[in-house]
């Protein structure tokens, strides 16, 4: 299946070289879990803070069991804030 992985702020450095717009589309195993899809990016655990699947927050304890489906968007931010 194809999923879009978006890595923002400092995590943008972990995208493959040449990635545009803070995102990359990848091929993943059917029903792969969030943690599984993110593993190849080698994100520092402390910076893997805000994880959204199609805009919905996935808490840390649910990331190993939350399975993605074809066409999903997985977006990740380090700790950030604004106002």
């Amino acid at each position: 299946m194809r999923v879009t992985v978006k890595l923002y702020a400092t995590l943008g450095d972990y995208l493959p070289p040449g990635s545009k717009g803070n995102k990359v589309e990848i091929e993943a195993a059917e029903a792969a879990a969030v943690d599984t899809v993110l593993r190849p990016f080698s994100l520092p655990p402390k910076l893997t803070h805000l994880v959204l699947v199609n805009g919905v927050f996935i808490p840390p304890e649910a990331r190993a069991a939350t399975c993605l489906k074809d066409g999903d968007t997985l977006a990740v931010w380090p700790p950030i804030a604004g106002g």
Binding site: K6, Y8, A9, N22, G55, P78, I80, G82
Partner: protein, 615 residues
């Protein structure tokens, strides 16, 4: 003791400047800045006063931590009855002006009456005098600051001024200090303009003395700074990316108001985000962002200093805008961008520059343009009426309209009324995305439910800085809550509102609260100020301030019916994203909120609540 114990009262009608002692009994109950200045205001003016009449007063106030070594201790507030809202207004600004007021020996300056001719206040330590400002009237905020510094031959003077927007009573005019910091919201600049007060220029060389227990204060301030430095948000995220890093988050969550809240996701959000500010432009190979910047005493440094693309249509013939200057911050980038469907980063920076230069709140300006673009889209306003082809997404229209509004030309005069009055004038009041006359900031309350309640009940009209539940609902600070549900939000909103009152009144920046709780502020206040500043007391101060502001608004004629959202947010479901199909659940949250607050079902504080708070 934190405070200087000294107030400067400036009667603009009589042309007098009179020192008086700070009311320390009130300082003990309201702390400083927002709380204390509001206590003075509500005690001295008729709540029903016309905000632009001489009978309104305007107070510039510092807090006990302003000017000290506490991190971010550079804040000051402008408290008055708001021109845009007809409600109590408190606009908060950073930069260096607030600390300078403290260094000159003053806690606050109360302006009353109206000068018969344009004047500016010059303060040099104990000396304070009104000076003729005929030569400054008509000048921009930037020119005013430069002219005052040159005429006094002192580049270290700090200046807070209005531009043409304040002079011309643009109802969302702001007061700008240090070129690009502003007391931005609720039209405080229009009030200043109505008083013929062009600027306040201060030079203070006394420093801050009288900290109650200096060794304890130094230890507490240093401990606070370590918390900020060690926190990933305040130590890394905000300095590198600024507030604008939220653009992609809020868009992804389906809570980025787009095209006057018709949509909740903006297809060009990435182009106006913090990440885009770091990308090299094809035209000159340089990123938009030049550096970050800090206000007085700040160890976070979230401010953005950027350089516009010299080849962009907005400035290619205007080299005066080519230098590095303030912006873009998240709110401005959203209001000038997504709110209008404009995805041109350079155009947003140009509009932002003009807002700073002429003294306009970019949130209310941008959102008012969004409302005008919807009226245009619906055929209610014509191209002839507006003077430009004001279609959603037009960067050209945005740039022309900001010039027209700043200069009070053509349709710009109507935009200067703000969206509520503009939409009412053209028979479609429901298209104004505002509460109590003030436009929403950058969070759609269909996707972040708690913010709907925070907006509706904000004492200064729609605002994110009166109860920023985004911190919890989106960012997980201090704990993560579900943004799509209403359960628990009344308690959450109240907690944020009360705590914010304390941060604002202490003289520090609310952004510290991404890392600090009140428990981090408390030891700093306790060491700086005489008296008891326990956690229990601080919690009571925050709640007291909120209820005092509420009492003023009720006496001014506002009521529970004004604690409401535009029908769009309560009846038109979000079209996309996680909140697809949802409207805001204000009607469910509001009665519960009143109960949690100790208010009647009509939103009036119960007698027992007032007695408990000593009101």
């Amino acid at each position: 003791m934190g405070w200087n114990r000294k107030v400067l009262r400036v009667n603009l009608t009589a042309g007098t400047c009179t020192p008086e002692p700070l009311n320390m009994a009130w300082a003990n109950d309201y702390l400083g800045s927002r709380g204390l200045a509001s206590k003075y205001l509500v005690s001295e003016i008729d709540p029903k006063v016309d905000p632009l009449s001489p009978d309104n007063k305007m107070i510039m106030a510092t807090g006990p931590l302003t000017g000290t070594m506490a991190s971010t201790g550079g804040r000051y507030t402008v408290v008055t009855k708001g021109a845009l809202t007809n409600a109590i207004a408190c606009s908060n600004s950073g930069g260096f002006f607030g600390a300078e007021m403290k260094f000159a020996g003053w806690d606050m300056i109360i302006f009353e009456g109206r000068s018969p001719k344009p004047v500016y206040l010059y303060v040099e330590n104990d000396k304070a005098e009104l000076r003729d400002a005929a030569h400054l009237w008509g000048k921009t905020c930037w020119q005013t600051e430069e002219t005052i510094k040159a005429s006094h031959q002192d580049p270290l003077i700090r200046v807070s001024s209005i531009g043409g927007a304040g002079e011309n009573q643009v109802l969302f005019a702001c007061i700008v200090n240090d070129l690009h910091r502003a007391a931005g919201r609720s039209g405080v600049g229009a009030v200043m303009g109505s008083k013929n007060l062009k600027a306040v220029a201060i030079r203070g060389t006394k420093g801050v003395s009288g900290i109650k227990d200096f060794p304890a204060f130094l230890a507490a301030a240093n401990a606070g700074k370590k918390v900020l430095a060690d926190n990933a948000v305040t130590g890394q995220g905000l300095p590198k990316y600024g507030t604008q890093v939220l653009m992609n988050v809020i868009n992804e969550m389906g809570a980025l108001p787009t095209r006057n809240h018709r949509d909740v996701q903006f297809e060009e959000a990435g182009k106006i985000s913090a990440e885009a500010m770091h990308e090299k432009r094809p035209t000159d190979g340089k990123p938009h962002l030049v550096t970050n910047a800090a206000c007085f005493g700040c160890t976070i440094a979230c401010g953005r200093i950027s350089k516009i693309d010299e080849t962009h249509f907005s400035v290619k013939n205007s080299p005066q805008y080519w230098g590095a200057s303030g912006g873009l911050e998240y709110e401005a980038a959203w209001a000038l961008g997504a709110a209008n469907g404009v995805g041109d980063l350079e155009a947003l920076q140009y509009a932002n520059l003009l807002c700073n230069e002429h003294g306009m709140d970019p949130i209310s300006f941008g959102a008012t343009v969004g409302a005008a673009m919807e009226l245009y889209d619906l055929g209610i306003l014509s191209r002839e009426q507006i003077g430009v082809d004001a279609k959603f997404g037009s960067a050209e229209a945005l740039c022309q309209l900001v010039e027209m509004t700043a200069k009070g030309e053509g349709f710009g005069k109507e935009l200067g009324l703000g969206s509520a009055r503009l939409c009412a004038k053209y028979g479609r009041p429901e298209l104004s995305m505002s509460v109590k006359g003030q436009e929403f900031p950058a969070y759609d309350s269909r996707g972040i439910q708690g913010m709907g309640l925070a907006y509706a009940t904000s004492n200064r009209g729609a605002c994110h800085l009166r109860g920023y539940t985004v911190a919890s609902e989106v960012l997980g600070i201090p704990v993560k809550t579900d943004p799509l549900v209403t359960d628990g939000k009344p308690e959450l909103v109240k907690a944020f509102q009360d705590a914010t009152g304390v941060f604002d009144s202490a003289g520090i920046c609310i952004f510290t609260s991404f890392a600090w709780t009140l428990a981090d502020v408390q030891p700093q206040l306790q060491a700086a100020c005489e008296g008891d500043w326990s956690m229990d007391k601080l919690n009571a101060v925050g709640e007291r301030i909120w209820n005092m502001e509420r009492q003023f608004n009720l006496a001014a004629g506002l009521s529970a019916k004004d604690d409401d959202l535009p029908p769009r947010l309560k009846t038109e479901p979000a079209k996309s994203g996680p909140a697809k199909g949802l409207v805001n659940g204000l009607d469910k949250m509001k009665p519960e909120y009143y109960k949690v607050r100790g208010w009647t079902p009509d939103g009036v504080p119960e007698k027992a609540t007032l007695e408990r708070l000593g009101l």
